[in-house]
């Protein structure tokens, strides 16, 4: 087994008094391409935010690269879910991508030539070279998503975390983005979060299913391993954990 990158052990996260994640255990290894599936509000984004150190665990433990979340910003590339920003913000695609070098560049220093080269390479990788000097607000949904992936790549991360990378992207572009991720998985550990069960690339190495909401009706096991294996055509990990009025104990069937 290769080196573990993310280790969640009975992780719980409470937001505003609500248990969003409860007793979640999963290990992501180097080279994994993990898709975390689940309904909206199932805690997927919260899981990513906890891995980034933006939310504190309320119970259990979570380590990233062997340390507390957020301790190694340069090793983690983050692609947020559809950035909410002012479309008129005066910033070019290249300047946005350069932000990916923040974790590598010292405070109060200009971006160096190396930073600019890395940003340029990342822009080439996602195929936006033509648009690098455009204002970010003029990009389409798919182009913006690729720019955000380029920003994450510019910092040379080992782990890529993507939150709903294909939300608000048209179907053709979805394929392009998954092809891009297929290409990136050669050199990166990828954790991808999506509610879009239909379009996850065939090449993901594992699938985890996260359902920790109160409005999840019926037994969550209906999204069973075999059903998902049918969808994805390869082995699937199922991470189940229920709580609240259903009163079930955390299910231990996950890997």
């Amino acid at each position: 087994m290769s080196e573990p990158v993310i280790v969640c052990d009975r992780l719980g996260v409470t937001l505003g008094g609500m248990k969003v994640l409860d007793s979640l255990s999963i290990t992501v290894y180097r080279g994994d391409y993990l898709a975390v599936l689940g309904p909206n509000g199932g805690g997927k984004t919260t899981l990513l935010r906890a891995i980034l150190g933006l939310e504190k665990p309320s119970s259990g433990t979570l380590t990233v690269f062997g340390g507390p979340p957020g301790h190694a910003p340069g090793r983690v590339g983050y692609v947020p879910q559809r950035l909410f920003f002012d479309r008129d913000f005066p910033i070019s695609v290249e300047e946005v991508v350069l932000m990916g070098r923040l974790s590598r560049c010292r405070l109060m220093r200009r971006y160096s030539r190396i930073d600019r080269e890395k940003a340029g390479e990342a822009i080439e990788t996602v195929g936006l070279a033509r648009l690098r000097h455009k204002r970010i607000g003029t990009l389409s949904g798919g182009e913006l998503q690729r720019a955000l992936i380029a920003r994450a790549l510019a910092g040379d991360p080992e782990l890529l975390l993507l939150d709903e990378p294909t939300a608000s992207v048209d179907p053709d572009m979805k394929t392009t983005i998954y092809d891009l991720l297929d290409h990136l998985k050669e050199h990166h550990t990828i954790v991808l979060v999506t509610h879009d069960t239909g379009t996850v690339g065939r090449s993901v190495s594992r699938v985890a299913c996260l359902s920790c909401t109160l409005d999840m009706h019926g037994p969550a096991s209906s999204l069973g391993t075999s059903a998902l294996e049918n969808i994805y055509g390869h082995p699937v990990d199922v991470v189940l954990h229920e709580h609240g009025p259903y009163g079930n104990k955390p299910d231990d069937r996950h890997a």
Partner: protein, 288 residues
Amino acid sequence: MWCCTNTALMATNRTTDMPDFLHFEFMRNALIAALLSSIACGIIGSYVVVRRIGSISGGIAHTAFGGIGLGYYLGVNPLLGVIPFSLIAAIGIGLLTRKAKVAEDTAIGAFWATGMAVGVILIGMTPGYAPNLFSYLFGNILTVPVSDLRLILMLDILIGGLAWLFSKEFLAVSFDEEFSRVSGLRTIALDLLMLCLIALTVVIMVRVVGIVMVIALLTIPAAVAKMFSRTLHGMMALSILLSMLFNFAGLWLSWVFDVASGATVILVAAFVFLVSGAATAMAGRRRH
């Protein structure tokens, strides 16, 4: 009160010629103050506009009235009282909203009114009447003494220098605060620094347009510049130029029509804002 000084000064040589207009030392000082204040105003105003923190800036400016009261009470230059008050407001509002999770408008309102209240009490406790109080509320660029020009210049250098040093970080937190935090930036510290720079810009602007109207010069030139800029640095350069232009035009018009200079500067800025906003809206409609 500003009218009295204006009229008295102009009575000596009432003319609308630009060269004559520059013969007076007070007019030269006014123009230097306008130039210097426009630099801080254009740089910091651009951040205020892209981050949409105009109301925080307004809160800081009004809290500064407490500092003017303190200056009168202690018998020192009121601008020196404004510095600590506006900095306390910046840090206070910043910490309350970011650390204590107080709603932003609540924190602004609390500081705004408290600062004004402290100012009113202190001015009331000052023996005699408060000369030139109106000029601090509504600005009077025609009475800027040379000592204030030096203070404005030093603050300009400080604000410009810090904004230049942190330009990469300020751009990042302005565009995507969360990503900046994930990248290891101390975003709360950067936010507080930016608010402090706004506070110092308020100190500069008090002389020009007064604490009540600071907010207009912090936002309007940058808002107009934003319509025509592709990068933040371009926006800053353009809003510095626009701010200078509004100041000159306002100053000249106030001279011609013998009206309050600060208010005229604001009206010129508002007029340009309105026209460019309408032009952009019409251009947008034609494109669709």
